[in-house]
């Protein structure tokens, strides 16, 4: 029983580490989609990151992704300048946090 629990803990830790190693790419993908004006795809990517980051224990990135998704939902088809600025702020927060995760700082 303890062995199985240990094995599971290892698997969970490995899954989290794997997710963490790809976090920066996910945030970059969001930035690329936004820079191309692919707002619908950006919303979907933000939605995915919102759920997965929160689930894997990266609350700050999950929260930033939630902000990005909500901004894009409110903006409907294409965000105005104000929405774009708020989106950029949330994206920057996600980038800082993903970098912090990458270098392993607390």
């Amino acid at each position: 029983m303890t062995e199985a629990r240990d094995e599971l803990e290892k698997l969970l830790a490995a899954a989290r580490a794997d997710f963490a190693s790809r976090l920066a790419d996910k945030v970059s993908e969001l930035r690329d989609l936004a820079s191309r004006g692919a707002w619908s795809e950006a919303r979907r990517a933000a939605h995915k990151l919102r759920g997965s980051a929160a689930t894997y224990g990266f609350a700050k990135i999950g929260a930033a992704a939630a902000t990005m998704e909500d901004i894009l939902i409110d903006a409907s088809t294409s965000p105005n300048d104000d929405a774009k600025a708020r989106f950029a702020t949330a994206l920057a927060e996600a980038r800082i946090e993903s970098e912090r995760v990458r270098v392993g700082s607390p």
Partner: protein, 414 residues
């Protein structure tokens, strides 16, 4: 109705009521009123005539008549009309022949027999189905108990006695203690009812009824009803499996949940209880068989599919897990094989998770399947709609693993 009172009958045998209904016999009598069998001379059919005693407010009968008139369902007795005779208001109802559930329980008990799990679940599904219709009409029955359930020929299960029915948004009517103490939810006793939550009284009553049906005894049964009712307010429900070891753990857990002292911890709608009961009924027979516990995960995010698969395996290492990324494949997969548990993201690229649930429920494809939505941004409206479909909602986040592990451990066959 409660203890019979020694008072003169309201109508006499042979009396012709409103020049139409000939009183044939007294079917039942209680503190609030009486029910007679009568012959409708105009239509030449047997009917039931219900009256309240002169000291009881006519509102009870008016309310019952209007409530019944609003509902058309085989699980609810049909109201034919309402009239007045000698200044006495009466309700003309369909005459339902059969055996009341409390008598059936007594008879089984006297023979030392217990109801089979499948038989009990069939009854509970019928009652929950009827309650879901009553609640959808905006009403709450408020006196769900075996004596108010009639087992009619052809497997028809009829909910009787709507004398205490109230709109479930109405709080004023709940300030007085009404109903039967053994089946009464703690908040009805203390008058702490929240507006719009009267239907949760019926969920509690259904839980007590289910417990009694399976255990053959009431969950709180010291012989002192008032003490038992107070105990139900403060103590968690006794474990059903302690009285009856063949009750599947998930059924025992569901019944305990229906009897939760806090109304917010109960299934939040009769539909939610209904779908869970249906799922348990559908799975009955497969428990203990060689079929492994099957889980279908539907999420378009591969990272979420991985996380959910890990969490399921944490609770059930031998589970058979299929993980797919869109709604259409989910429906195809359920058609091929109904899983025990379906974990469903709501925001899917093709048909969304709510549409998947509606399709599955509409086609009766996943009746034996517990469906849980796993979403990052379900709105209150989404959650309420899902509840109507008997779907539980989990939120993506740090608590997801714990919630999911607990759920799977409860669901797995012992």
């Amino acid at each position: 109705m409660t203890e019979p009172a020694k008072v003169d009958p309201v109508f006499t045998l042979g009396e012709l009521v409103a020049e139409t209904y000939e009183i044939r016999s007294l079917l039942g009598s209680g503190g609030m009123g009486e029910v007679y069998e009568a012959r409708d001379r105009s239509l030449n059919r047997r009917v039931a005539l219900k009256v309240v005693r002169p000291n009881i407010k006519r509102d009870y009968l008016l309310r019952e008549g209007r409530a019944l008139a609003a509902i058309h369902h085989p699980g609810v007795v049909t109201v034919h009309t309402m009239g007045e005779h000698r200044g006495i208001l009466f309700l003309v109802l369909e005459r339902v022949q059969g055996l009341s559930l409390d008598r059936m329980i007594d008879e089984r008990r006297s023979r030392g027999e217990r109801l089979g799990i499948a038989e009990a679940l069939d009854l509970l599904v019928s009652i929950a189905d009827t309650l879901s219709i009553v609640h959808r009409t905006g009403l709450a029955h408020r006196d769900v108990k075996p004596a108010n359930v009639m087992l009619a020929p052809g497997g028809r299960v009829v909910l009787m006695d709507f004398g205490l029915v109230l709109p479930h948004a109405d709080r004023a009517g709940h300030r007085t203690v009404a109903g039967s103490l053994d089946y009464m939810a703690p908040e009805a006793l203390s008058g702490r009812l929240i507006e719009g939550e009267a239907h949760l009284l019926d969920i509690y009553g259904l839980g007590v009824l289910a417990y009694e049906l399976l255990a053959g005894i009431l969950p709180f049964d010291s012989g002192d009803q008032t003490q038992d009712a107070l105990r139900a307010k403060t103590r968690s429900c006794p474990v059903l499996t302690a009285h009856r070891s063949d009750v599947p753990t998930p059924l025992s857990a569901l019944i305990a949940q229906m009897m939760a002292a806090e109304s917010s911890e109960r299934p939040q709608s009769a539909e939610a209880a209904l779908w869970q009961l249906r799922a348990l009924r559908g799975r009955l027979g497969s428990e203990g068989s060689a079929r492994p516990f099957a889980v279908l995960i539907v999420d378009d995010d591969p990272d979420m599919r991985s996380a959910l698969t890990l969490y399921v395996r944490a609770a059930a290492p031998d589970a058979e897990v299929e993980a797919i990324g869109d709604g259409r494949h989910a429906i195809r997969s359920v058609r091929r094989r109904v899983p025990d548990l379906l974990l469903l993201d709501l925001d899917l690229p093709d048909i969304n998770g709510i549409e998947v649930c509606m399709l599955l429920r509409g086609m009766h494809l996943g009746d034996s399947c517990m469906i849980v939505s796993v979403s990052a941004r379900a709105t209150r409206a989404d959650v309420e709609l899902l509840q109507q479909l008997g779907v539980r909602s989990f939120e993506k986040g740090p608590n997801l693993m714990g919630e999911l592990v607990t759920l799977v451990q409860r669901m797995r066959p012992r």
